[in-house]
């Protein structure tokens, strides 16, 4: 699209927004919105948008934000036991990054009119979800590496296309998040490489972690395309750019040579290069397990939410104190006033 067309579409879109308040008929706004999305323009917080588009984004961004803060738990589990000071520094920085990602994402959701308190409440009461991958436990140090390599690797595969998401604040948050995630992924790979090339015990620890994290990582892309409830509409809105199965295939193709370089085996006997497709074939995913974990029957579902609620409840007096102090002294600038 040439620059003049883009500006014309944007102008129509914003005019529709400006005139919108008093009108019942939203067809002009809808047309401007559709044109802006078709023209690859970014929708911004003050632009008119369909209610369902807003709701879909809030749901998705909230789920993503919740995943960041719940995802801190399985890794924080190893901060106090990290086996070298270098690894400890890397892990602490990574967990800190996740808290930072949570902050950007809750802020992005806030631009859609839904505040952090409301979203946290929905998380704590089970009305909103987070990525099921974090319902698996980190049992050994190698799991920290497997999460970096596989879980962050899968997340990046999912998230890089979101940098082009039609909603501006989400797309911009994702640019920064993807840069940091890609750093984490390399760190996880490097951790596993050290283990794989280390003692026999360390190698076995790395292989065991990959055995346990491989299949859950593939499930991170969501159900197969023909069973994915929200996919078609999200693709049309350009919130989502590729189907679950496309992204899953891309991830498998990326991981196979990396596993070889690591000297580790991916636990799938059906994994084989298919010359005709130009992709790796892989074995069937156990969707029963996926749905079971999603329903709350994973190994750590209860524990993760209980710990999150515990932190929140035990911190209530601190947030109340910050709010009271701000009220007394007329400054609200701590960010700590969220109840």
């Amino acid at each position: 699209m040439v620059e003049g067309d883009r500006m014309a579409t944007a102008a129509a879109h914003r005019t529709a927004h400006a005139d919108g308040a008093a009108q019942e008929d939203t067809s002009a706004f809808q047309a401007a919105f559709d044109a802006a999305v078709a023209a690859e323009e970014r929708i911004e917080p003050r632009d008119w948008m369909p209610d369902a588009y807003r709701a879909t984004l809030v749901r998705q961004i909230a789920q993503h934000a919740h995943s960041e803060i719940i995802g801190m738990q399985p890794e924080a589990n190893w901060i106090t036991r990290a086996p070298s000071l270098r690894r400890k520094a890397i892990l602490m920085a990574k967990v800190q990054d996740e808290a930072g990602h949570g902050l950007y994402l809750y802020s992005a959701a806030e631009t859609l009119g839904t505040g952090r308190d409301e979203l946290l409440d929905k998380l704590h009461t089970g009305r909103q979800k987070y990525s099921s991958i974090f319902n698996y436990p980190t049992l050994t140090w190698a799991d920290v590496g497997a999460i970096g390599w596989l879980v962050d690797g899968a997340a990046i595969t999912n998230q890089v296309p979101l940098c082009r998401c039609s909603y501006g604040p989400y797309a911009r948050a994702m640019v920064r998040i993807c840069k940091e995630e890609s750093f984490h992924q390399r760190q996880g790979y490097e951790l596993l490489l050290s283990l794989s090339r280390g003692t026999a015990e360390q190698h076995a620890m790395a292989q065991d972690a990959v055995d346990r994290w491989w299949w859950p990582s593939l499930m991170m892309f969501g159900p197969p395309d023909d069973e994915s409830a929200h996919s078609a509409q999200s693709m049309a809105w350009k919130i989502k750019r590729h189907s679950n199965d496309e992204l899953r295939q891309r991830f498998v193709d990326i991981c196979v040579p990396q596993a070889e370089s690591l000297g580790l085996t991916l636990p799938d006997p059906a994994l084989v290069w298919n010359e005709e497709r130009g992709h790796h074939d892989f074995g069937p995913i156990d969707w029963t397990e996926f749905h079971d974990v999603l329903k709350g029957n994973g190994p750590c579902n209860d524990q993760r939410i209980a710990r999150r609620r515990q932190a929140h409840d035990e911190g209530a007096w601190v947030r109340e104190a910050a709010a009271a102090h701000a009220a007394k002294h007329g400054n609200a600038g701590t960010g700590a006033t969220h109840a």
Binding site: P83, L85, R86, A89, A99, R319, A336, H338
Partner: protein, 239 residues
């Protein structure tokens, strides 16, 4: 200056940073608000960075961190105290970061083996002190409950503060002047936070320089057991 003096000072300062960093790391995922997850991790990372420089001055950082027994650690008892509630963590931060800011400020100004580290670290520690001060003000002058908790925390950690000002061999600063400056700074913050300056002794039979001599409190052994377990389980392995 002898090698022995150099070692004991580097270990003392390095162990302070290492141990407090570890304690702050225990907050990950449990902070009262998301912004504090970022802030506490930031402080922990700064301290860990300082610890690595200091320990590397006198040996292999990992051997020193992971293979020494409890009695060989030279950190202050203050920094090993369990996190407790958020008020205890903040009181510990206020006392220690004020000390560290004064100490590194002085070390940065004199020629010596710690000048380079101190010049860099004093900027980090200025932030730690500001963070602790702001939270002391919020908790002290927040709600009745937070005032009560902050007051209790300041009282209960007070007896560990005297140890900070016992002269360290190889660290050439005016320790008496440091103590006066510390008391003035902390008193000012507590006063503004509507808190009393604790009146009890700043040290007792078991706290007067004990940490610097390798005598610690019970929770420290458990902390080290957790910290060292994995490293010690794989002798000679690299990570």
């Amino acid at each position: 200056m002898t090698a022995t003096v150099h070692t004991s000072a580097a270990l003392a300062l390095g162990d302070d940073a290492l141990v407090l960093s570890h304690r702050l790391g225990e907050w990950a995922g449990l902070a009262p608000v998301l912004e504090e997850e970022v802030a506490l991790a930031n402080i922990a990372l700064d301290l860990l960075g300082q610890a690595r420089v200091l320990l590397s001055m006198v040996g292999n950082e990992d051997e020193l961190a992971y293979l020494r027994e409890e009695r060989a650690f030279r950190n202050l008892q203050l920094v090993e105290q369990p996190n407790g509630d958020f008020a205890h963590t903040i009181a510990r931060q206020l006392y220690f970061s004020t000390y560290q800011r004064l100490l590194y400020g002085r070390l940065a100004e004199v020629q010596g083996e710690f000048a380079g580290l101190a010049a860099k670290a004093v900027k980090e520690v200025a932030y730690h002190q500001d963070h602790a001060e702001q939270w002391t003000l919020r908790l002290g002058d927040g709600t009745d409950l937070s005032h009560e908790r902050m007051s209790r925390a300041c009282e209960s950690l007070w007896r560990f503060t005297g140890e900070m000002f016992l002269p360290l061999e190889g660290v050439d600063v005016d320790w008496t002047g440091m103590k006066d400056a510390w008391l003035e700074s902390v008193s000012d913050v507590l006063h503004r936070a509507t808190l009393e300056v604790p009146q009890g002794p700043q040290s007792g039979a078991w706290t007067a320089g004990a940490g610097r001599q390798g005598l610690h409190t019970e929770s420290f052994g458990r902390m080290l057991a957790e910290m060292q377990h994995l490293h010690r389980s794989h002798p000679g392995a690299t990570w």
